[in-house]
């Protein structure tokens, strides 16, 4: 196996972080929908909290993505 093949496998493994982020974001959104259904008047507060939580959850996926990009673009050279 060549070096570039190993780099590709590593990059693929790095973006697997997206699975965890997706699960977390789905759970968070589901809970937010439940909360709004139970208390529609708290809509704006729940929305602000949800966006903040999603941003923090998403960062794991983004770190994986950036790691994969760095592997592809700098290690292969």
């Amino acid at each position: 196996m060549t070096d570039i093949g190993l780099i590709a496998i590593g990059a693929g493994l790095a973006v697997l972080t997206g699975a965890g982020a997706g699960l977390g974001m789905g759970i968070a959104t589901g809970k937010a929908v439940e909360a709004v259904a139970r208390q529609p008047e708290a809509n704006s507060k729940i929305n602000a909290l949800l966006i903040l939580g999603l941003a923090l959850t998403e960062s794991t996926a983004i770190y994986g993505f950036v790691t994969a990009l760095v592997m592809i673009f700098t290690m292969g050279k």
Partner: protein, 300 residues
């Protein structure tokens, strides 16, 4: 650029799609729209919509086939993680930095023009530009008040300037240049300003001793972890914005690459999401997180 003579089959396909498209649009124009209360209103509307779709699709196919006749050399998918560099007055400057300068210059001129010509004419009841400006300023000012605890004009104006710069640098992608936010050094400098603001506001509010003491709450054991998580803030902010922007850019490039000669119209629709909506959400999150961290540093 070089014109390649298409084969007979391709000529037939071009002609056929052109004829079908024109015929569909002509037929659509022939169908009269009945009154809304009439019997066949829904059926006629459905038929018109279907013919419109068929016509546009056929013309799109035709344009793709015609553009496919012009070869633009070998097409290789290439996205660099770091932008190209250029020489300006003997200095080696990254292209994204130059574009950011252009955006800043345009914003400064626009701000000066608005200050000189628009603001003296503001009236009691806002309309048009005044309404737009008041809504934007009010939104940022409310966000700052909500996160920081009370009104802070300096912080609000800094974040308004940041939002204007970020939106401006996202719009340049529509002109086909690499947006400044896809450069890690650019996003890291934004995040570094946030880091400085967190500490300046924290020290200003509590003093150096109080700021250091806040690391030992609720327990002195967790001080190193709290320090580490504070140092990670600029890195996580920078990587989040950079990763999102570069990801969006790569997706748009991939669409152009995959569609080839057929990339007429379709990338514009997708670009609306990847170049307009997605950056706006990311900038909102960046500003929101910055304000949250600053609010955390100053709270008693």
């Amino acid at each position: 650029m070089q014109f390649i003579m298409p084969s007979v089959g391709k000529w037939i396909a071009i002609g056929l799609s052109l004829i079908i498209g024109a015929a569909a649009l002509y037929l659509r124009a022939r169908i009269a729209t009945p009154e809304k209360s009439d019997e066949g209103y829904k059926a006629a509307k459905k038929k018109r919509n279907l013919l419109m779709m068929a016509g546009v699709l056929a013309l799109w196919l035709c344009s793709g086939l015609v553009l496919g006749c012009f070869s633009l050399g070998s097409r290789v998918f290439e996205v660099a993680i770091s932008p190209t560099r250029m020489d300006i007055l003997g200095f080696s400057v990254s292209s994204t930095v130059f574009i950011a300068w252009v955006v800043i210059a345009v914003l400064v001129v626009a701000a000066a023009l608005i200050r000189i010509f628009a603001i003296p004419r503001f009236k009691e009841t806002p309309r048009g530009l005044q309404l737009l400006l008041e809504t934007a300023v009010g939104a940022i000012s409310n966000l700052t008040k909500e996160k920081y605890g009370h009104k802070n004009e300096g912080l609000a104006s800094y974040f308004f300037a940041l939002a204007a710069l970020m939106v401006g640098s996202a719009i340049v992608e529509l002109f086909g240049v690499r947006p400044p936010t896809t450069d890690l050094s650019m996003t890291f400098s934004y995040a570094l300003v946030t880091f400085v603001l967190i500490n300046v506001y924290g020290i200003h509010k509590k003093g150096v001793k109080g700021r250091l003491q806040s690391f030992t709450k609720p327990n002195a054991v967790i001080a190193p972890f709290k320090l580490l998580s504070d140092l990670a803030v600029p890195i996580s902010l920078a990587c989040r914005l950079f990763g999102n922007m570069l990801g969006g850019m790569i997706v748009v490039e991939l669409i152009y690459y995959a569609l080839g000669a057929f990339s007429v119209g379709v990338p514009a629709v997708l670009g609306l999401y990847f170049n307009a909506f997605h950056p706006l959400i990311q900038f909102f999150i960046f500003i929101n997180l910055s304000l949250t961290f600053i609010g955390e540093a100053v709270e008693e």
